[in-house]
């Protein structure tokens, strides 16, 4: 095990002790929420950071996951251990259905299409009262159980969300460092060149959209079984913007950036609480400062001062071979 892997393992074990050390229900709730948001933001990172495709519908997928898992557990009495994976699968399916036509667009047009989808989802949640109970939302969502233990406290639920976060990080990391990840990066850098290299760009973009939706769905399902109440107003366009800001502030092209941004922007308003009504001004100013001085996010800043923090994977030998300087290449 190299030093980096050892450091990550130690950090993961130390973080697992968070609910044993912290006794405040308030801090535990904010911590659990931050982790859940991190799962959704990692998904957005696959789409925006890895692939370069803009989506402003992550809150909609978050909502679809939340409602799918909540409805299955309330209506059929199924355990959240069953409904959460089903909700993730359903959200991924919706992602595929939406992604296929939408990803023929790019840039601003894609962003507009995803905004439209987000609004449609919210209107559906508000208006289909027979299914979603309309604006009143759903109550009585059961928490998961582990044998005789009901995971209905922020302490015990922490391990559910923490497990989901570790799984999400692992999946995203495997995607990033696989053939798929390299194809996504090629699309991000130059879609036409990627196509010329034989990459089926539409297929990979849809795949990234499906993965982003699935991560969003997982986050939504997790929050539904934690808060045990959901309503359509939580899955608005504003929430999608918050996810985007979390990713951009953290650093969109890295998993560490997505997690850092989510945790930072969940805790920041809480840290600023003592400022009362002026906190929103300070919060906004802090975000502007971060965007101006850290265009590559917090992780970009760390990399600038500690270049070995997250080195890029070694480039293939062929690309590193010195190119003979000829009359054509000289300029």
């Amino acid at each position: 095990m190299n030093r980096r892997a050892l450091a990550v393992a130690v950090a993961a074990i130390l973080l697992a002790a968070f609910p044993l050390v912290v006794k405040s229900q308030y801090i535990l709730q904010v911590g659990d929420s931050a982790i859940i948001y991190a799962v959704a933001v990692i998904g957005l990172g696959i789409l925006l950071g890895f692939t370069g495709q803009m989506s402003l519908a992550q809150a909609a997928f978050f909502g679809i996951g939340a409602y799918a898992s909540a409805l299955l557990s309330i209506s059929f009495g199924w355990s959240p251990w069953v409904t959460i994976p089903l909700a993730v699968a359903f959200t991924a399916l919706v992602g595929a259905l939406v992604g296929w036509p939408c990803l023929r667009l790019s840039g601003h047009y894609l962003a507009l299409a995803t905004i439209g989808f987000g609004i449609i989802v919210q209107l559906f949640l508000i208006n289909d009262k027979g299914l979603t109970n309309g604006p009143d939302g759903l109550t009585g969502i059961p928490p998961p159980k582990l044998g005789p233990l009901t995971l209905d406290t922020y302490q015990t639920y922490f391990y559910v969300v923490y497990g989901a976060l570790l799984l999400s990080i692992y999946v995203a990391w495997r995607v990033k460092h696989s053939r798929i990840g390299r194809a996504l990066e090629a699309i991000r850098e130059n879609e036409i060149a990627a196509q010329a290299m034989g990459i089926d760009t539409t297929r990979y973009k849809v795949l990234a959209f499906v993965l982003a939706s699935a991560f969003g769905g997982l986050g939504g399902a997790l929050i539904a079984h934690m808060t045990r109440f959901i309503s359509p107003d939580s899955y608005s366009f504003d929430q999608s913007v918050v996810f985007l800001v979390m990713l951009v502030i953290g650093g969109s092209s890295t998993i560490t950036g997505a997690v850092t941004g989510a945790i930072l922007l969940t805790f920041l308003p809480e840290v600023l609480r003592p400022l009362k009504d002026s906190y929103i001004m300070v919060y906004g100013a802090a975000v502007i400062v971060m965007v101006i001085f850290m265009p590559d996010g917090l992780i970009g800043l760390v990399k600038r001062f500690a270049p070995s923090f997250e080195p890029s994977p070694p480039r293939p030998q062929a690309l590193r071979a010195p190119v003979p300087r000829t009359a054509d290449t000289a300029s």
Partner: protein
């Protein structure tokens, strides 16, 4: 010196014995009673939050200035956390407040926030005072929640009854905002209409913040409605709706929810609000001495008229009711306080007569007012049996 030491030891022993025998007297007297308040300080509902804080501070200062304060010289100490306008933040604010050992909580006025907070509230003994009007708020399985305003059920009943009985409406249309408040209220109106054997001829909804209501208003006109019942959440939408209502030539009387009678909405709408009816928890000049004293005192302190129904009035009532209950039972024991609050009968508040029913609803009356020249005057008071 030995005599001094002996005296000291005797005095210490006496003090310890007294402490053991009368712990409340020694530990409680003069100690502040911590009262949690969860207003939306930031976000879309920040104006409501400001009004709630004004009402709370006014009540607390008034109580702390009276002899004996709440009781036993114990003052109220306000602990305020921002509930913002979203559900997750409200739950976070509640958890923070509970970590600060508050003795009672004045909850947010937004009903979805109450419902989001319910899993945290369950199993705890703090008395929860709320101004959220969704019927469901007091049906969440919480035995210690108390609503200090009329529920949407009562409001809808009053509005519909007035539309049918006083305005002789036969073809009633419903116009409402599409979030929880508007939709829940519209459902209650439909249920009340059914009791009269009527069905709405049109039901039109809009998202908060809409700027063009032409399509909705014209559909209501085409349906041939003779009365429109409006369940509108944001006072800021009222002025736009009323302006377009008049400019599209609608002569049909409109009976609106409390936001239509909100003073800011009336001032913004100007002459467009003339002749409109509105349901009101409170109508200035038509209430008790307590209400008159509150409005006068509030104006002298803040130099503006209070928004009694949704903002400052119910919070002022909630805190005064808690203070009177603590004084009556001589304790701040949470279980005893909740039991005593359940026994509230004919307690006089700014918003009227407080009598607690089995669910924790305190107010059982609603007034219908008519707006003319920037003022609301009382037309009818509807009282529903507790």
């Amino acid at each position: 010196m030995p005599a001094t030491r002996k005296k000291f030891l005797l005095a210490s022993a006496a003090a310890s014995a007294a402490g053991l025998a009368f712990p409340n007297v020694v530990l409680g007297k003069g100690e502040p009673i911590r009262l949690g308040l969860l207003p939306p300080i930031t976000g879309a509902q920040a104006l409501l939050g400001q009004q709630e804080q004004e009402g709370a501070k006014f009540a607390v200062d008034e109580i702390n200035a009276r002899p004996g304060k709440v009781f036993d010289d114990r003052p109220f100490e306000l602990v305020i956390e921002d509930a913002t306008s979203d559900n997750q933040s409200a739950v976070g604010a509640l958890n923070k407040l509970l970590g600060e050992n508050v003795d009672a909580v004045v909850c947010p006025v937004l009903s979805t926030q109450i419902q989001a907070m319910a899993p945290v509230m369950k199993g705890r003994q703090e008395p929860w005072m709320t101004g959220g009007t969704a019927v469901k708020n007091t049906q969440l399985g919480l035995t210690n929640i108390f609503r200090c305003r009329a529920s949407d059920g009562i409001t809808a009943q009053a509005m519909t009854g007035f539309a049918v009985e006083q305005l002789h409406g036969k073809k009633i249309a419903i116009f409402h905002s599409s979030e929880a408040f508007g939709t829940g209220g519209a459902d209650q109106v439909e249920a009340s209409l059914a009791k009269f054997g009527l069905k709405a001829v049109a039901r039109e909804q809009y998202p908060n913040g809409t700027k063009d209501f032409t399509a909705e208003i014209l559909r209501i006109k085409q349906a041939g409605a003779d009365v429109v019942v409006g369940y509108i959440q944001n006072p800021s939408d009222v002025a736009v709706i009323l302006s377009q209502y008049n400019s599209l030539g609608m002569k049909t009387p409109l009976v609106g929810s409390p936001s239509v009678g909100n003073q800011t909405a009336i001032d913004t709408a100007g002459k467009n609000s003339n002749g409109m009816y509105c349901a009101q928890d409170f109508i200035l000049g038509f209430n008790s001495n307590v209400a008159t004293k509150f409005v006068t005192g509030f104006y002298n302190r803040y130099h503006h008229v209070p928004d009694v129904s949704t903002g400052s009035g119910w919070v002022y009532d909630a805190i005064r009711l808690l203070a009177d209950t603590y004084k009556k039972i001589g304790s701040i024991d949470k279980t005893k306080t909740a039991l005593a609050l359940h026994q509230t009968k004919h307690w006089e508040g700014v918003l009227g007569d407080f009598t607690c029913d089995a669910e924790g609803n305190m107010i059982h009356a609603m007034s219908i007012g008519r707006i003319e020249n920037g003022k609301v005057s009382l037309v009818k008071k509807v009282v529903v049996a507790a």
